[in-house]
Symmetry: C2
């Protein structure tokens, strides 16, 4: 059996490793356009900011180690240009030699990821503007910071990558402006919860501009800076611009090969992560998945789903019948001392879907308040009043936020109701929790609403 994998990072590398563990004999070739595979995308902003000191720590496997450990033929700097489904072969360009060649397959796994959206803003193509997806992007940003002694940077986009870059710049002592078109950062959470983040961001001296968009950039070569114009007419001088307004599935290879693309632009698969061509699987940021709550297609470009889907594609190729069970979109972001996290649907989405929801807020201590170090966790729970089913939850605070959202993520996936949440028996000793945890409290309040007491 011969398996080709396109993309050598989260989904692709996981698929390769798993395929090898399940089958010692298969020929496995992994193509990666860039110079690195198996790197920690999620760590890139933290190396820029200096938290992760050693660049090498970001690179988990090399082509050599992949060969030694997994007997996988890893071809970096090799871009797959097209897929010929008829003959079951791909055409590959070796980017360093310029050579083009073909490789046949029995099974093909697509994990090409998603690329940063860079809208056609006048002047945006300039040497001081970057987006951040991979190691070379990171290296370039670090180089500009070092060489140009950057004093001011601007980040456009208040999603998690934008926020992480904002923090990285702040940590380097660079004055930073964050521009976000929406009236809040972190759109997975609702606005009143994002307010905590806004406060945290402003307290750190960030120039946060909500409800405005970048309309043009002008590279002032003499002054070695950019002059940015916003859609409210304001201008801004900056020495480095990061575009982080979102990502878009890399669907062109799949599209050219005639694979079905969904309405949102992601590659369509069935629950086995199989495209409409039974020999071709697709995973990760490039695919549309089923939303766990509302069951419609969605795009969730996150590492957990990509890793698990990659593993599952390998499983299914190797004859297991594993089904992907939908994505909740569980996510978390560090914003200075705060953690901001969510799972499932938020209130905005429930309103859009016209789903009948109730909500409760609990502001509780991360652990027993009489034990030192407790911090407030602000927690929001959304649920269906008649069925008691959990729609989603959001939490913000300095400690214990990940735990609370994980608890809800598990409960939601298990189909628990808020009534059942009341009975959760969570770890309690003063340094870790409370006899009635925030989650129990939220369940009490929610059940009170349902039962009308």
């Amino acid at each position: 059996m011969k398996i080709l994998i396109i993309g050598g990072v989260a989904g692709g590398a996981s698929a390769a490793a798993r395929a090898r563990r399940l089958n010692e004999d298969a020929t496995i070739i992994m193509f990666e356009r860039g110079p690195y595979v198996s790197f920690a995308n999620c760590g890139l902003p933290y190396h820029i900011g200096g938290d992760i000191k050693d660049r090498e720590n970001l690179i988990l496997q090399s082509p050599e180690s992949f060969l030694a450990r997994f007997n996988v033929d890893v071809r970096v700097n090799n871009e797959v240009l097209s897929i010929d489904r008829q003959s079951k072969a791909v055409t590959v360009s070796h980017l360093t030699t310029g050579e083009t060649y073909q490789e046949s397959y029995d099974y093909l796994i697509l994990s090409p990821g998603a690329s940063p959206v860079v809208p056609p803003i006048p002047g945006i193509a300039n040497p001081l503007t970057f987006s951040l997806r991979n190691i070379p992007d990171m290296d370039n940003i670090i180089q500009v910071i070092g060489n140009k002694n950057v004093k001011h940077a601007t980040v456009v986009g208040g999603g998690f990558i934008g926020l992480e870059m904002m923090e990285a710049f702040h940590q380097l002592g660079i004055n930073t402006t964050l521009v976000e078109m929406a009236h809040q950062v972190m759109t997975p959470i609702d606005k009143e919860m994002a307010a905590f983040a806004h406060q945290e961001i402003r307290q750190h001296g960030i120039d946060l501009r909500l409800g405005v968009a970048l309309s043009s950039a002008h590279h002032d070569v003499e002054e070695k800076r950019l002059v940015l114009t916003l859609n409210n007419g304001e201008t801004l001088n900056t020495e480095l611009l990061i575009m982080a307004i979102g990502v878009r599935p890399e669907n062109h290879l799949a599209k050219s090969a005639g694979l079905t693309i969904g309405k949102l632009g992601g590659i369509q698969t069935n629950k086995h992560m199989q495209t409409n061509d039974p020999s071709i699987f697709a995973v990760g940021d490039a695919v549309e998945v089923e939303d766990f709550v509302i069951k419609s297609p969605t795009l969730v470009p996150l590492a957990g789903p990509a890793n698990r889907q990659g593993r599952m594609a390998a499983d299914n190729i190797m004859g297991r019948s594993e089904q992907y069970q939908g994505t909740q979109g569980t996510a978390i972001c560090k914003i200075f001392d705060l953690a901001v996290a969510s799972t499932g649907k938020n209130e905005k989405q429930l309103l859009e879907q016209a789903l009948p929801y109730e909500k409760v807020y609990v502001h509780g201590a991360s652990h027993a308040s009489y034990y030192p170090g407790a911090q407030t966790v602000s927690f929001k729970l959304l649920f269906n009043k008649s069925s008691g089913k959990i729609y989603g939850a959001q939490a913000v605070g300095k400690k214990g936020v990940d735990k609370r959202i994980d608890i809800i993520a598990v409960a939601q996936r298990a189909g628990m109701t808020v009534d059942q949440l009341q009975h959760l028996e969570l770890t309690y000793a003063p340094p870790y929790g409370s006899a009635k945890d925030i989650i129990n409290q939220a369940a009490f309040v929610a059940t009170n609403i349902i039962k009308g007491t």
Copy 2:
């Protein structure tokens, strides 16, 4: 409606508060033998050790605040001596005046707790030996430490209270011996997991003696110390002795009143927390509950269950029909820098019950290993190989232990299988987790075992 509550701490106070919130008109009287209600039992060792500086922080409500906030008549220093089920009245002794009186009830809630086991060891009744259950116990211990300038203390019992006292003494600069009859501390976890705790304890210079028991104590009044003899013949000089070998349900009131007592010595109730007398409910450390996993009666003296049962007893008296859904025994203990936690059944218990189990161990990073500050979490998962149902889990480490056990506690309560655990979508950003969390990894390994790959 007139409700009497016996015991004014976790179960009792929770019942009183809830009863009031559900019914504005009921007469609610809460009797407490001791001088305090609503105190944080769980915080007592931490005040002794100095982590909780302010003694007042341990006392969450006073009789006055309870009256003002909840309109509950709280009678401290009032011990209920007997229950007359026929006439539906209790006899109470006012301990400060010596006066005895009667009080009638429509409903009675028993939350008398559990008292420390002090075995009839020769010489154990001496002024340097204490157990720790309430504020006066704590005050006495603090007084002895202060007055006698204690240089060496001994703790008998390696359960969570014993371990917390050991740490408190260590923090005060007191040389400490911990004596435990079993070959491990923290019996809810298995021995190989407890080994991490043993190492942590010894690294802190504690004289840890496993597999030995205290056989006698001699009070050397002149030297102001105790001479302890162990069952291996060794002797030990110490200036303060804490007995923390476990607790036993306070069942005598219930027993004398002819309420059914279970085989383990706890008061028996149905799922509504109702005793065999429909007017009498019982909750907390004094009752036997159903083990969530094996469905047999068990004693789990922990604050979470006590609080929730107290609330539920009030619910049921007020006409809701709430059912207690069994206790998993989710527990956690801080041992210096380590957290040790578990939920459900351990391997010893599964062996005893002759249940067919499999186990997996995963040693993973508390968050992405390339981001600073990650610590190893050692995690053990026990499950049924044919059904995939979770029997229990244990975890030890410096960070993220509470979260991992909470996740399993939720999953187990929801009836999830290890196959389903694979799909858990947990919060991931480098400071908080991993794209494939320890829990996912354990589920992968467990599912591999089940599927035979």
